[in-house]
Subunit: 297 residues, 2 copies
């Protein structure tokens, strides 16, 4: 039976480090990492995420702001706000909760954010720096969190075959970029599979590390996994469950029960990758604060 | 026996298209694509490359400038020149020949170039756009040239397994980024191997398309290649050859003779990938001219 990689425990350790770093910034430099989360409209799921981020950043001793714009906010209003936040020295990280309402051009909003404050790593400059292998930008929070899950679980990807299922801009593509780098904690041979891949199983069976991020409930079955593989499940899918009060349950992209019987290590859903995303956002905010104040990071 | 992919012939076709586009820009918009190649110092190989680029861009009807700075040029002088070129509306593409002398910080020079004039695609913004899948930046000339070689040879990577050997910033990493995109002419399942890969042969034997860019003479042998594979050789290595007047000969990263017996299509060295690099540089310059003048590309 696979050992569980407990994302909540690892995220907690990272939050403790972050809080320590924030305390040192306060003490030594009289600085407070500042994170602003912008929510446009009233999407309930977005509200939950935004509130979690606001709460956590306060707990860690950050300057934290939540700005809620009306669901009918215009592009011009959003860009004016971004411009104000770009210029505000108290604000080191700016995050506009995705997805915005349809009248808002998300790409333009991202481009408008000063890339040194782009703690989500959606800006092309930061994506490019990541691929090139530069360390003075940011990494997207979910794949960065997965790198940390591996590190804290003593899984060294060097020379191993990492098979990534999915090629999204928020997981698959940055994941391949991070794992393939000539760098400590990376150096994997990387394969990226996706919807157009034929005979998916041929590839996944080779994976020493499998990262499932394809957005299909319980897609990765036991017969697709090599004995002893490390399995990271990025999926969060709602499936009908009449026995549940809500009428649904959350499952990942991995058929957890059966794959657990073959894997050496596996992340659960929820409680695996999820908690890491917010932990890395907080780390990125501390890094942003340091970069913007010329402090070694 | 494999069919040869003739890079010279395909590059020539692309140059003809480029010349046509330049003529249309002249006729319809009174615009002339402008390319400036900057050479710092007297490196003989760099001089050859720079002269080729200057000559070709003139042939295609571009505004073409070669600027040679003294080998002792300071960072300040280089940055002042870049700033002038950034502001010059006649100049749409700026290329600083690599490698510059040691007193010049190449990264800083690249960052200083207006990313809309970065026709080499070395700037993080353009690298990021490529990975994200945006089409309003540039692609690095060598991997972009390989995409065109495949296209002109009627090789559709969709659903095929592309195995890339090498993870450099100028070939391996952009190559994986282009091939993995959800896009026409891409959509491959992609594996990236490199110096830390164990059992390289296990991976290369799976490749429907193999791209060798590891910088080791005749690294890819016949026993590493599946029958019928498409083999692209990016290597240019000098090896001793006493029978040659120069005392050396050029070989690729592929053992051409023996691999030819198994591959379905193969690029020679020289005359394969090489001529495409300059063809795509010229295409990028036309695109830069269009973007900077608000013309649909």
């Amino acid at each position: 039976m696979a050992q569980i990689i407990d994302g909540k425990v690892i995220a907690q350790k990272i939050h403790e480090e972050t809080a320590k770093e924030a305390a040192i910034l306060k003490e030594k430099h009289n600085l407070q990492p500042g994170l602003v989360v912008v929510l446009i409209g009233e999407d309930p799921a977005s509200q939950v995420y935004v509130n979690m981020k606001e709460k956590k950043s306060k707990e860690l001793g950050f300057h934290s702001e939540k700005i809620v714009l009306d669901k009918n906010a215009t592009m011009d209003e959003v860009l004016k706000l971004i411009d104000k936040l770009n210029k505000d020295p108290k604000v080191h990280g700016i995050l506009v909760q995705s997805p915005p309402p349809p009248q808002i051009d998300e790409d333009k909003v991202i481009e408008a954010i000063d890339h040194r404050k782009d703690v989500d790593c959606f800006h092309a400059v930061n994506v490019g720096k990541m691929l090139i292998g530069k360390t003075d930008g940011f990494y997207p929070c979910t794949p960065y969190g997965i790198m940390k899950l591996l590190e804290y679980s003593n899984v060294n990807p060097s020379g191993k075959h990492a098979v990534i299922i999915g090629r999204s801009n928020i997981v698959g593509k940055p994941m391949m970029s991070l794992l393939v780098q000539k760098a400590k904690g990376a150096d994997a041979t990387v394969t990226v599979c996706h919807s157009r891949t034929k005979n998916m199983k041929e590839y996944t069976l080779q994976g020493d590390i499998i990262i499932a991020a394809i957005g299909k409930p319980e897609f990765l079955k036991a017969d697709m996994v090599k004995k002893g593989a490390v399995v990271i499940d990025v999926g969060i899918n709602r499936v009908e469950d009449k026995s549940a009060k809500t009428g649904y349950k959350l499952v990942g992209d991995v058929a957890f029960e059966e794959v657990s019987a073959k894997a050496s290590l596996i992340t659960p859903v929820p409680g695996g990758v999820g908690p890491m995303t917010i932990a890395m956002l907080m780390q990125n905010t501390v890094k942003a604060c340091k970069i913007q104040n010329g402090i070694k990071f």
